[in-house]
């Protein structure tokens, strides 16, 4: 078994798929993994893959043209999920997809497809929880929000807010993956990597409290109905790791 190892970014994951595919070792003889590899197997050969934009684009184009654009977006979302086997599962699904077409995502009989769907659903749930629980803080004209998701949910979260608040300046910062989505007023948002220095500066925005912070906290305290207090249910809907930057829980 040959294991192709790559970095945790879309570009390098797609490159990894390209290299594994064209290694001509046979699909059953390769495995794909995202670095860091925690435990090495004795008889496996490990190949480190460097990101290459041309190879990544080749994979993206092939999926878009030969399978379907919808399939590609599913693949991108699944690759963003925080699951150890996401990359390898996507590879297996792509093998099936190129052979059988876009409809293969409905065929739960294939183990790879079933696993892919499970990953995709978990990702979707994480996205919706961060859409619900992104809390913005007003700094001058700009709304700033910090989130700490496990998966790369920034893109779908921004899609939601660009539709919701098109005429505001806002910025959503993913503290885990060090990415920020910046939305200028009345125009398209963009996502960019942030450097350590920028990250430190952006972190200071959290010390600031706008005029609504105290009001929102007071509202949250007093709206609760004693008889309906159900902490277990609350934890089910809103896990503690998601609460890090949520105003009412700080």
């Amino acid at each position: 078994m040959t294991v192709f190892v790559c970095e945790d970014s879309l570009e390098s994951m797609l490159t990894c798929i390209y290299d594994a595919w064209y290694s001509r070792l046979g699909h059953d003889n390769v495995r794909l993994q995202v670095a860091p590899v925690e435990q090495l197997n004795m008889f496996d050969r490990y190949v480190h893959v460097e990101a290459d934009i041309n190879k990544a684009m080749a994979v993206a184009d092939a999926v878009n043209v030969k399978i379907s654009p919808a399939f590609y977006s599913e693949v991108v979302f699944a690759l963003g999920a925080n699951e150890p086997d996401a990359l390898d599962t996507v590879y297996r699904v792509l093998v099936l997809g190129f052979r059988l077409g876009a409809g293969v995502l409905d065929a739960y009989g294939f183990n790879a497809v079933a696993r892919f769907k499970a990953i995709r659903i978990r990702f979707g749930r994480e996205v919706s929880s961060f859409i619900e629980f992104a809390r913005f803080n007003r700094l001058g004209d700009v709304f700033v929000s910090h989130i700490e998701p496990k998966s790369r949910v920034l893109l779908p979260v921004c899609e939601h807010f660009s539709d919701r608040m098109p005429s505001e300046y806002w910025i959503i910062i993913d503290d885990v993956h060090r990415e920020a989505a910046v939305h200028p007023i009345n125009s398209r948002y963009y996502i960019r990597k942030i450097s350590d220095e920028e990250f430190e500066r952006l972190r200071t925005t959290e010390d600031y409290e706008d005029s609504f912070t105290a009001m929102w906290r007071a509202y949250f305290e007093h709206i609760a109905i004693e008889e309906r207090n159900n902490p277990a249910c609350q934890l089910n809907h809103f896990a503690k790791w998601k609460r890090k930057h949520v105003t009412e829980f700080i």
């Binding site: 409809g103 409905d106 739960y108 009989g109 079933a114 499970a118 109905i225």
Partner: protein, 259 residues
């Protein structure tokens, strides 16, 4: 104004339909002036919703869901919300302060509400005048299924949608997945589990390729026992609100030591 005149005027009135269902209690709740208004006015385009307070009056579940069903059918309501009555004030006509809040009943009503809106059930199928309240031990869909064991078990690979949606453990989403997956070959219990079918409920009502998951008797009492066991934890969470905690030395130990 005479009652008959009012009733005449209210022929198509929302409250009059409620009045058909229940007689005495609504006189308490519906103010007289509300009866004079014609409520068949155009409804808000985004959809209307309403809220029913559960447990403040003697209404049975059958009355509540029949009214909800009529509201959905005749008035295109988006949602009917149910809210367990929490006593805050002293009033002779209302439950006393400190009486238990019927949270489990509210939960069962919401489950039934979903059955009305997404599963094609009607209120009269779920409850009847002989059994006007929901079984607290198992959910309304399981309750319906065990009373209609002549329909079950159904074959997942061939059954039509309106039959499959009535199987406990299969919802609209897993139904859609089953139908998509059926085009690619036969389904197994393993595949159903991965699709999100809740097999701990569905296993008593379905076959895959002609076989049930376990060898079990298709018998009401047996299945009810098993399903009650599945729901036990949920029911307990709703009905038992005591919070037990570890005894602490400070509870009385320190005081005793000080004396």
């Amino acid at each position: 104004m005479e009652r008959a005149v009012i009733n005449n005027r209210l022929e198509n009135n929302i409250f009059s339909q409620m009045r058909l269902e229940t007689s005495e209690d609504h006189k308490l709740i519906v103010p007289e002036r509300a009866l004079d208004r014609d409520l068949r006015r155009p409804f808000a385009p985004a959809g209307m919703s309403t809220q029913m307070i559960v447990g403040a009056t003697q209404d049975s579940d059958l009355e509540l869901i029949t009214v909800s069903e009529q509201l959905y059918k005749n008035f295109d309501l988006k949602r009917v919300f149910f809210s367990a009555y929490v006593p805050l004030n002293e009033d002779a006509a209302l439950p006393a302060k400190g009486s238990a809040v019927p949270l489990l009943r509210e939960h069962r009503l919401y489950q039934a509400d979903w059955l009305l809106r997404y599963y094609g059930f009607s209120a009269s199928e779920l409850l009847s005048p002989e059994r006007p309240n929901f079984n607290e031990a198992i959910d309304p869909k399981c309750d319906w299924a065990v009373r209609h064991l002549d329909v079950f078990p159904v074959e997942v690979n061939t059954a039509p949608a309106d039959v499959l949606i009535r199987v406990p453990g299969i919802g609209p989403k897993s139904l859609e997945r089953i139908f998509r997956a059926r085009r690619y070959g036969g389904l197994t219990f393993d595949a159903l589990k991965k699709m999100g079918v809740v097999l701990k409920r569905a296993r008593y009502f379905i076959t895959c390729g002609g076989k049930m998951m376990d060898r079990i008797p298709i018998e009401e009492r047996f299945i009810v026992n098993r399903l009650t066991d599945v729901d036990r934890r949920e029911v307990y969470n709703f009905s038992d609100r005591t919070t037990y905690r570890q005894m602490s030395i400070f509870d009385y130990g320190l005081e005793a030591a000080g004396r």
